[in-house]
Symmetry: D2
């Protein structure tokens, strides 16, 4: 069970960001810090994720530490991947640092890998943990939206809008690769919002033949340009590979270009939605901890705060609504 | 009941936008038109709202009519307020135009006033009506979000971010007036996202004394600048009036400025969220009509399509979550 | 003369920002600091303009002090108006602070008022001064562009683009008030770029009758909406006053709205042009000082660095090109 | 000589866009059309560049044809590359179309290739030609700026700003590839404005060793992240190749990522500068033609309209200012 059986008193918490950064992480850190001060709790910041915890890169945070950061992309706490924390020895060192600094509970902002490490940490050392979903991919069970996702979709959308200017002027086909390793959320939402003719995601694979047929039908209906959104998949270059396959199946009458949006999608000023979501999750994480709710990830489901056991958040998947996939086809008529 | 007892066959529908324009209306028109074509239904566009309907300013729409508009603010169908439709004579003329053009059902995109007119029209002439909530104010019951709201909040937020640069550089207090006549949604959400010290809305009135006290406390805690978001209320100028009241109660040590964001908030490229919401509502409106659901407004509640009787959508109000108001106070610590 | 008579050796300089803030000031501070370090010179930062100088609010700056600020609006050195520096006593105190801190020369970023103070300071105490034009108004002689101007024009333009969505959808006339107290630069450039029908500036006054006639001619040519840009003039509210005058002269067939863009125009991430201009001027200011060029403002004329005596920069005016005013009329045909 | 010896009367002109599209082309088309109407001249639009001219894809333009386009990226006249116009036969057909449509002079918006074709056309058939520089690359002699360049630099800059959020959060090195085939303008300006540590362009080649040394020095000075801007050169992928070369020369302590911005740079709403430049050049092109100035490209040098013979515009190159290259090094200290 994730409700703490022995709710020890929490006087001092620590917070870190781990894994890939996402816009809104700073708004979330701010909410945790300000919320803690409001409740009379001390907050320590840990720099560079689990690696910083292991090395004791820990400092005291005040209201001033988080002023004027709500609008900034990235994370003021820095982030890094940390293989050492995947070992028992690494986690042992981390635990000693927590003890040395008198930290009673730990809030981690990140994605699947972050929570996997946190869960081990909890199971081995009993450290009260609260996870906050911070990843542009929106691929976490237990929350309708993750911090950074709305911003990333809007960033991809702005790029699509720009490319459409050229696609339209030159009557070309553009394949645009967006982020989303295991998940087609960014692809589907930016595709619908960008008026794409097709969206290619691993959850709903289209054969090259289907793509070619749809493109040909579009041109027969006198479409003069097309935009196809491709989720990047396991490795970068998915869109380029796909373009090669299409080219092999058609005569060269298609003027086809490929653009991979890349890391641009991770940064930037967070959207209003992401700042509010991050603020709610940050405050919800803190107040959950104070209520003795641990070993969970805080999320928003149907606009309500919900706490999901970390194990479930890690193991279960969140499928894309069929309604959205259906819309792509209907609206590109 | 709003489920049509005698579902007559719908072969041709018409669509209009009415009241103040909102970003995403074009994405919604596109979804209605493309959805109709997908289902083999004819679509007529009506220009300039109810006035255009009365005058017969009606034209046939094709897939091409709505290509390359998903990213545009405003409404390609134009909009206008129409006092004549508030009279029985006006609605009689409108009905004759519908008959003359062989239109079986009418989709209206707008806000409260638009739906009020539509309801009269339905009650008097039995015209099957479907309403779609299009207003930046988000003040409609029956949907968690209205088309244009997310964009307006982000537009207000960008302005707040800009003003904070100056507030911070000059160590000033800024009162920023945002839109939202009967509703503080834009104020609260842009206030949280913008890191405002206070948000003043009619739903949760603060006395001038409370404002002054909070400002003084902030400066005592060595805050060097403050941003206060004010919902415009019944008439423009709410923020300027408030500033005058504050000035009377304090010595002149506050360097205080006022900016009313004004019509800037209505326009602009719609956000990803608004384009997707508009597309879902447009398609949902059309498919609702085809299923015989009439005299309702289509909305999104907990991320599901929901149809609410127009009477309810007009009469009931949608209060702001207390959780959000509480957050403003905690996070400005 | 402004070419140095007694080129004393400069080992330590100080920098401050004064008057209203402008986007790009931070990029300029960065260029001064990095340039100084490159040349082996020490740099002191002075907070809050001349007031900070008088109070000795002075600190040592390193390369790290200016990292990650090039993209930020406002000024990290803060700014303020300082009546005390307008007195001999104030400047006496300021001079003592400079001596106490071993500062050999002073770089000031600001506008007319800033330079006026600097000139007195130079004349009375012989402090080597270098001025850098930082104001969104672009109203300084001795440079084609001032820091912040390009960003402000683009900010005004984005607002105009948004408002046009609504103007077009509702077939309305909008009067949009932009900044520019003594100068119509922002009005003229944002008006041309925004496709405005008319631009009203104090340098080229139009009678109300001329405005009304042009509006009527436009509507006779079946223009359905109009945007008029108004420079704010001596006091805010110029556009609102003008709208009232127009309303008195026409029947009520014009649906006319007014928006004053206000302080939004001062903030925001600086444009590429402003960052490059600020970097060139910052480095040029520093290297000018090291070459013994003092008592001048550095500027860019025909894309070349130029040093203009402060007296000239203050006293002479920079008229708007007639070519631009002519374009407004031709292109709104 | 480019001053027309026999200034025949011009009653009807035609305009086309050719080559790659650039933001601001629409503002330029608008200025040509509105300027022509102002001067009582007829204007024909030619769709899809020289190919459309050969096929007679020509239509009459009115003031309304260009309303509400000043803010749009791309070109409403569409563009395409046209190998057929590179042949005498193709140009013969094009000439016949001009004659059939009674067109007295031709305005072409594009880059080097566009002007090369135009020059042949003039030399063979004596068609009065006026070129307007429209390309994001800014690589044309005879003008300080080309239409689209300022927007492209700002677009690249926004992407760099986003990526810096991640670079900074993860303490990584990013190689960002920007457009600019034969010219490093975009790279140098976006590099300075983006605060890049290095800019790699073909005009000023750096050896891999120099790059590695500079990166190592930066890290020794405790820089924690670096951004390197790379001009794409002859073929895409320059940055990826460079990253591989760097990786071979260093141990794996550099966490290095590559992003190629790609076609995003071509689109988008034009900046204020590009809209004004495009308007000036469009009007200047038209009025130049009416004055009998032909066989030239219109440009802006030192903020003045200048007409340069097409031959010179094509053959001569415009080197990057050394001042800018020097600044990159100094400011990344």
């Amino acid at each position: 069970m994730f409700l703490n059986m022995t709710p020890s008193i929490i006087n001092r918490i620590a917070i870190l960001t781990s894994g890939s950064d996402a816009p809104g992480m700073n708004a979330c850190i701010r909410a945790v810090v300000r919320g803690a001060l409001y409740h009379g709790i001390e907050v320590m910041g840990i720099r560079r994720g689990y690696g910083g915890l292991i090395r004791g890169d820990i400092f005291s945070m005040t209201s001033h530490s988080v002023s004027n950061i709500i609008q900034r992309g990235g994370t003021i706490l820095k982030s890094a991947h940390c293989p050492e924390f995947m070992t028992v020895e690494g986690r042992q060192k981390a635990y000693e640092q927590l003890m040395n600094h008198g930290i009673d509970a730990l809030i981690v902002i990140g994605g699947n890998g972050t929570f996997e490490g946190a869960l081990h940490f909890y199971e081995e050392f009993g450290v009260p943990i609260m996870g906050i979903p911070g990843t542009i991919d929106n691929d976490l069970f237990g929350t309708d939206y993750t911090i950074g996702y709305d911003t990333a979709v809007n960033t991809a959308l702005k790029a699509i809008d720009r490319i459409r200017d050229t696609a339209d002027s030159h009557e070309r086909i553009f394949l645009i690769e967006v982020m989303g390793r295991d998940s087609g959320y960014i692809a589907v939402q930016s595709g619908i919002a960008g008026g794409a003719e097709m969206v290619v995601i691993s959850e709903d694979p289209l054969s090259t033949q289907e793509l070619v047929d749809t493109l040909k039908q579009g041109f027969n209906r006198s479409k003069s340009s097309s935009i196809i959104i491709v989720a990047e998949g396991e490795t970068k270059g998915t869109a380029a590979t796909l373009a090669d396959q299409i080219r092999k199946q058609v005569d060269d009458k298609f003027d086809m270009r490929v653009t991979a949006l890349g890391h641009v999608q991770r940064g930037g000023t967070p959207s209003a939605y992401d700042r509010i979501l991050a603020s709610r999750l940050g405050l919800g994480a803190l107040e959950g901890l104070l209520d003795g709710t641990i070993n969970v990830m805080v999320g928003i489901i149907n606009n309500q705060l919900v706490y999901t056991p970390l194990r479930e958040a890690i193991d279960r998947s969140k499928p894309i609504k069929n309604e959205l996939l259906r819309m792509v086809n209907i609206l590109s008529v």
